[in-house]
Amino acid sequence: MKKRLDYDVIMDLIKPNSRVLDLGCGDGELLALLKDKKDCHGTGIEIDEKAIYECMDKEVTVLQGDIDSSLQDYSDKRFDYVILNESVQQILNPETVIMESLRVGKRVIVGIPNFCHTSSRIQVALFGKVPITKWLPYKWYNTPNLRFLSLKDFRQFCQDKGITIEKERFLRTTGEISLWPNLLAHHGVFLLKKE
């Protein structure tokens, strides 16, 4: 299996023995890692039936459902962390989901692809085409992404909503970077908090 740098970063942000909710948990790999390596108690929300079998094989708790409607049943600050990794850009109401996540979670970890990476900017500016990159390989007609944002856009959103960014980490294929992330990073991972 391909090593997921974003998982390493998220693992690093999460304290041992935490209660974690992973929204859009996919095959449950991250939850399984958190269970094995950090003794976390995790729950995943996932819509895809096939992915749910894989979660079950990995012995993690998983609920089939839409991210958009999955948070209302949880009480305030139920989880130590709510994870929205690579899912914010695919949900219908990201604003509501992020605010709800901050309600049910003491902290929220958001991992997003950077739609304004240099290679994307070049394609737009020079060729006048919507960018297709190794990290965002979709065409306009088959992309699962509903929202297109940059790391800068996300920071702006947090500022507007009074959300504190406690930590931010930026990724390229080769590893983590800290310089000019909005130009050079493919992914950003943010640790958020709201009192």
Binding site: T43, E49, M56, T61, D73
Partner: protein
């Protein structure tokens, strides 16, 4: 347990007067005999027991073969060596429910006081009572805490009830194609089935034992039930408009279509294996079942300590997924560890017994996890 392992039904009799079991309806019942079967071996610390609750017309014969039989138990594709409920690891128990006619005391059993079948003098038993008497059996087997209790359809109601009545007597529960209270539609369908039996002159107010059976009524009630177990799509796929043993329709009221023939066959073969009064009692017990009884669902579920796996099927209109999802939401609110999946299937309510591959994968993984996480 190998493929052709021979299984014998066992019997446990208890609640001899004056120690009768008090029932929810206010009456008492005893003595009670409970038919049950077990598969696999109970381990030394009695921590590997799984209790399987059968559906409405099921029985204790869940797996293996009875001597001389060519058909295995009703969940044989799930219970056995190397199967989802792996009998090399787990000790699986299945008991016939109270009120049934498959070895456990029901309306067709002889009342020791009168030496005649109970018939309608049999008390109205509930899902709660059925669950309670199985606890007597589990106590008798010396098992304090089940690794898992599991049931589909009516069996799911018993499994759910078990986790509320005896919170510390199960590590986990698996509920399949079930709900937490019978809805108006479910009651309505049962009432039509009951009226079919009651309006058969041979039913004779329940006193037909030793005479002609209310075969027409019972058969009709089963035909109705079978319609509710299938989806429109599965019926269309299986039968379509195919004719039964003829090239053209007959323009009369004899059997034309395959689907008619199938339902008639299902109906008449049911008469040979099930007691009409048991059908009345059990269907009524299901209709009386309402976990909430005016209270908030999450409050009713508050005693629960077990983990849950809840499975539904997309085309099941008898126990539709939304009902289980309401249960899932209340369990989430209560901070219960619950996993949930709606399996995409065309088989309607029957999917519970048909979609074995997907269920086997979910259940075997889940049991592995529960086994690791159990606290002795």
């Amino acid at each position: 347990m190998n493929n052709k392992s021979i299984i014998e039904t066992q019997y446990y009799t208890f609640a001899e007067p004056p120690g009768e079991v008090p029932l929810k309806c206010g009456q008492k019942l005893g003595p009670i005999t409970q038919a049950y079967e077990t598969y696999g071996e109970l381990n030394a610390d009695k921590s590997n027991a799984i209790l399987v609750f059968h559906a409405l017309t099921g029985d204790a014969h869940a797996a293996g073969y009875h001597k001389g039989a060519d058909k295995p138990g009703w969940w044989d594709n799930m219970i056995g060596s190397g199967k989802a409920f792996d009998t090399d690891k787990y000790f699986v128990i299945c008991a016939n429910v109270l009120g049934s006619c498959k070895g456990t005391t029901g309306p067709a059993s002889i009342d020791p006081k009168t030496k005649k079948p109970y018939a309608l003098t049999y008390p109205m038993v509930t899902i709660e009572d059925m669950t309670l008497v199985q606890k007597y059996l589990i106590d008798h087997l010396g098992i304090e805490k089940l690794l898992c209790c599991v049931g589909g359809s009516m069996g799911g109601l018993l499994a759910l009830k078990w986790t509320i009545m005896f919170p510390d007597a199960a590590h986990s529960a698996i509920l399949i194609a079930t709900n937490y209270r019978h809805t108006a539609q479910q009651i309505a369908l049962h009432e039509v089935a009951r009226q079919a039996i009651i309006s058969d002159p041979h039913w004779n107010n329940g006193n037909y034992y030793g005479g002609a059976l209310p075969a027409t009524g019972l058969s009709l009630s089963r035909m109705i039930a079978h319609i509710t177990y299938m989806s429109e799509e599965s019926m269309e796929k299986k039968f379509g408009r195919k004719l039964q043993d003829k090239e053209t329709v007959g323009y009369d009221f004899k059997t034309d279509f395959e689907v008619e023939s199938y339902l008639k066959y299902r109906g008449s073969s049911f008469v040979d294996r099930f007691d009409a009064n048991s059908y009345l009692y059990l269907s009524k017990a299901l209709d009386y079942f309402d976990l909430c009884e005016g209270r908030k669902l999450s409050d009713v579920l508050s005693p629960i300590e077990a983990k849950f796996l809840i499975i539904t099927f997309s085309s099941d209109w008898l126990y539709p997924s939304y009902q289980s999802r309401e249960l899932v939401r209340a369990l989430k609110t209560n901070d219960v560890d619950v996993s949930y999946l709606e399996i995409e299937s065309n088989y309607g309510h029957d999917a519970f017994l048909v979609e074995t591959e997907s269920q086997a994968r979910l259940i075997s993984s889940y049991l592995k996890r529960v086994w690791k996480e159990r606290v002795i």
